[in-house]
């Protein structure tokens, strides 16, 4: 029960009045970010990151992770009231959430969504509490080949699990790696891929990419769809909340299943979006009311929301225990840790106990704060969506530009942000996934140095990646993930032949 003790110590770190204040500020900002088009968890945190540089790391990460929880909650508001998914993982929530709102059950749908989100996140946090220290302890034995194998597994699961065409996933991912390689080579000190342009020496910061790809790209996309938002109004009063809560327990099976799907998809970086779709699909197949899905049933809101939040939260597990983020937002948080001088990874649990357990404790508290805020402030957030786009769009672009500038105090970065924005727009429309691009950009240098160190150990022999049971099985799992779609197809063919 070492973890419980550590957790309570974490609560004592997180529960200062200042940190509590930051939690509420963070969640409110997060919901705001989740509701506004063009600002999401990843780029919202990227933009606010510089403001936390002067804070103490624990307080800073508490605020930033609370922004993340807020953004996760916020996505549901727009999906249910406006049929506009504020975040990609709330697309599946629109299927039943919006019909419910149309039938006048907006309050019920929102309460269901928020409560399910909370349950999913809570489940994942409990899992993190007990699993993260174990994973970290285990990972202390890792050498360069093992770390490279974990990177390999991470990126293979993107290709195998992604919905996009595999070659586009590879192209996007490799583009991320290439951008990461720009600048000074950490091993030899040589300048790479700058083509004589010395301002590129700094390399491409992934925060700029995140702000451009997700922020500007999103604004361009929403512009295309015209400017009018027409939404339902919602009132949530304690009566509706209690009535909804009474109905929810009967969906416990769906809820539990969605939690498990979410956690699994979050740890292996499938991410929240596929988790929500998968959970919705399975719930539809398994539920006795399966045919009614899509016409506004509560269970159809429970499934995707629970899974999305479980996944979004579980994505932090590999981030804190291995230093490998499971989602773009986790990657931004990781970037923050690096800036505050903390090296995420297995040693964090040994060297920075206060920080890690403070963060984990804040996950519990942040989600409770989040639930309270969204249940009480929905009308306020919905009102923000009624601010015309011709005001919101320029303000958001200004915020993005400021965010891009503050990363390195470099004017050139604002231009790059714009360029990434156009690329993000085109990529999104052509089904090039953005998440692997961003993660490759974040992890590129680490993956490369793990690879090179491993190769140095073995003197250039690739067989080192299969030299012992541990590294071999991680690599094997990676290959399995990579060829998973082909295997599934082959199996289906075999079955057809047999039948």
């Amino acid at each position: 029960m070492e973890e419980i003790n550590a957790l309570f110590h974490g609560f004592s770190v997180a529960l200062t009045p200042f940190n509590l204040l930051l939690m509420f500020v963070g969640v409110t900002l997060g919901v705001l970010i989740g509701v506004l088009p063009g600002l999401g968890g990843a780029n919202g945190i990227a933009i606010l990151l510089p403001l936390t540089f002067s804070m103490e790391p624990t307080s800073a990460v508490i605020m930033l992770s609370c922004i993340y929880w807020g953004a996760l909650f916020g996505g549901a508001i727009t999906s249910i009231l406006f049929n506009i998914p504020g975040e990609p993982w709330s697309v599946a929530t629109t299927f039943d959430g919006y019909p419910m709102a149309q039938q006048g059950h907006a309050g019920e749908a929102l309460t269901t969504a928020f409560t399910s989100s909370f349950v999913g996140a809570f489940f994942a946090v409990i899992m993190i509490t007990f699993l993260a220290p174990l994973v970290a302890k285990f990972a202390l034995q890792f050498g360069p080949p093992e770390f490279f194998a974990v990177f390999f597994l991470t990126f293979c699961s993107f290709i195998g699990m992604g919905k996009e065409p595999p070659f586009k996933i590879i192209a996007a991912m490799m583009l991320g790696f290439a951008l990461a390689a720009v600048g000074i080579d950490t091993v030899t000190g040589q300048l790479r891929l700058i083509f004589g342009w010395h301002e590129l020496m700094r390399g491409f910061d992934f925060l700029i990419a995140v702000i451009g790809l997700f922020g500007i790209g999103e604004i361009l996309l929403s512009m295309e769809e015209g400017l009018s938002f027409s939404g339902r109004t919602a009132k949530i009063d304690p009566k509706i909340v209690l009535a909804t809560w009474k109905k929810l327990p009967k969906y416990w099976v769906t809820s539990l299943r969605s939690c498990v799907i979410g956690c699994w998809m979050g740890i292996t970086p499938g991410g929240a979006t596929p988790a929500s779709f998968m959970s919705y699909g399975i719930a539809k197949r398994m539920s006795p009311d399966g045919q009614k899905f899509g016409s506004g049933v509560q269970e159809g809101v429970v499934a995707p929301e629970t899974a999305a939040h479980a996944a979004g939260t579980a994505a932090l597990l590999p981030m804190i225990s291995l230093g490998i983020p499971g989602s773009p937002t986790a990657a931004v948080l990781l970037g923050g840790l690096l800036i505050w001088g903390l090296q995420p990874g297995p040693l964090l649990f040994v060297e920075q106990k206060d920080f890690v357990w403070g963060l984990i404790a804040s996950m519990y508290l942040g989600n409770i704060a989040g639930l309270i805020i969204v249940l009480t402030c929905v009308p306020l957030f919905a009102a923000i969506l009624r601010v015309p786009f011709s005001i919101i769009a320029p303000v958001i672009i200004v915020i993005c530009a400021v965010g891009a500038y503050t990363v390195h105090n470099a004017m050139l970065d604002i231009w790059f942000m714009l360029l990434f924005g156009v690329a993000g727009y085109a990529f999104k429309k052509l089904a090039y996934p953005l998440a692997p691009l961003v993660l490759a950009l974040v992890l590129g240098d680490q993956a490369e140095s793990a690879f090179r160190q491993a190769m140095l150990i073995s003197q250039g022999d690739v067989r080192i990646f299969f030299s012992n049971g541990l590294v071999g099985s991680i690599m094997g799992l990676g290959l399995l993930m990579l060829f998973w779609p082909l295997l599934v197809k082959a199996l289906a063919k075999l079955k057809e032949k047999a039948a």
Binding site: L220, S390, V395, I397, M411, G421
Partner: protein, 172 residues
């Protein structure tokens, strides 16, 4: 975009998905080749003391090239009927955000973030949002002013004031 293809679908004319797929794949192919070229210049082989600087990016560049060639092939020879990437009317809307945003960034370079932001928000509201100019100017100044307070005064994070620095008289 030099090779715009116009197709007349039922949903209105625009740039076809096929054309856009080809353009993006070609751009990626160029980027991939640049990566391969520069990695080859740095050396991508295994030398006495380990891998050279271009060892890793060389293969990355190769992967970009291969995958973009496959995507290019699928776009050119694919039988699947593709739709419209963006209709002209939509493209006009997108451009109406993108071009001012470009001017805004140019403005930042010249006159700094605060002045450019105030002007950008005001012009955007008046021109695209059809607000009367008093509202636009007031909101632009309000946003810019609160940003100034937040960054320069409270958080002490100086932002870019532009090459001509019109706010130099404030002393920040």
């Amino acid at each position: 975009m030099s090779e715009k293809q116009v197709s007349d679908g039922a949903a209105g004319a625009g740039i076809s998905v096929k054309a856009m797929e080809i353009v993006v794949a070609l751009i990626l192919l160029v980027i991939g080749s640049m990566v391969v070229y520069d990695s080859a210049r740095l050396g991508y082989r295994w030398v006495g003391d380990g891998p050279e600087a271009g060892y890793f990016p060389f293969y990355i560049g190769m992967f970009i090239c291969i995958s973009s060639v496959v995507t290019l092939g699928q776009a050119v020879f694919g039988k699947k009927k593709t739709g419209i990437f963006v209709e002209w009317a939509q493209l006009k809307l997108v451009a109406s955000v993108l071009l001012p945003a470009g001017l805004f960034v140019l403005g930042i370079q010249m006159i700094g973030i605060y002045v450019a932001a105030a002007a950008y928000i005001a012009v955007f509201m008046i021109w695209l949002g059809k607000y009367n100019w008093i509202k636009g100017v007031l909101l632009g100044l309000a946003v810019s002013g609160s940003m100034f307070m937040m960054f320069e005064v409270w958080f002490k994070v100086p932002l870019f004031k532009g090459e001509f620095n019109p706010l130099g008289f404030l002393g920040y």
